[in-house]
Amino acid sequence: MRWLRVFALRVAGLFAKSQRDREFAAELDGHLQMHIDDNLRSGMSAQEARRQALLKLGGVEPIKEIYRERRGLPLLETVLQDLRYAVRTLRKNPGFTLIAVLTLALGIGANTAIFSMVNALLLHPYNFPELDRLVRVWENRGIDEGADARFIAPQDAADLLSGAPVFDALTTYKCGDFNLSAEGNVQPVLGCHVSANFFDVLGVGPALGRTFSASEEQPGADQVAVVSYGFWQRRFAGDAGLLGKTIQMNGKKYAVVGIMPRGFDYPVPMELWVPLGLSPSEKTDRAKLSLESLGRA
């Protein structure tokens, strides 16, 4: 650990330089005087004594310079000096500085934006099992409003599974805002109504508790909720006692039955999921494109 002590002392040597310089100058001066004294004692003339002592001592400035190098950290000092010079130069040319900073900012910003997209889409796509067998299913009725508005009617979704089914399984869901009442105030949270097999189709199980059973799809039995890891951490500080508690949303009470593993927030960053709970008439609806759908081929 001796090198650590040396390093610390050399860092300390970067400070109070003029005082340290004065101290060393005094030390060298004392050295010279003692040498002159000795020379005088051996019988030299005052002038000769001084001359000989100065000759022996040699160049004082080079000695001081070598001493300074040992005292501090020359490399660090040079770097600091360069930095100071750079800052001064930049301050003298504000126009150039502005353009340079803007160029860097835009460059870094654009790169970050592109990288986060590539990162999400190419490097870290959803890590559901057998992702290549998972497909989004929607009806094309001649108007395509883009990837965010691709829906299917409930009865049409059901038909896809009857007869000669194309899919092993199909799940439907409908997402939107929920108003979560907590401690007297109401906060909007993003959530989805999902059919009971939603998590099975995605192939992801809960981290704690359970997901929905088929019976909970019945209206009336659907007052249960599964929440995301983030929801659990942010709003309940990871309290394991959340399971079995009820939360109040849209004026209804939901019992929290499950917590999903970290990172699961399908389809877009979602905080919770509740059963779809369609009424019999809604189930047979073929007119309204009310649901989104995922199939596992």
Partner: protein, 114 residues
Amino acid sequence: MAQKKDVWQGTLALMVLKTLDTLGPLHGYGIARRIEQTSGDLLAVNYGTLYPALLKLEQEGYISSEWGVSDNNRKAKYYKLTRAGKKQLEREARDWEQTTAIVARFLAPGEEVS
């Protein structure tokens, strides 16, 4: 007058430590004179190496320094061997003896190395 030899690298620290061990607290000038005298004036101590060497030994904690007054009333910085310095002196002296012994064995005439 024959050209005096400079103190070679690495041995200066050993000489400084030994000098302080023998003579007790001493200033830079005294250390230099002592080394030159002990060598029978065959060595010349370069002050550009002596003072940085003293500083290095102090940074390493082998010696400590304190301002004082010399015999003829000059202000001087006195260097003193620390406990760690005493140990280091023993270590370096041992290393040096070993090295010289090895070199001596190479230079010894007539002996076969088996």
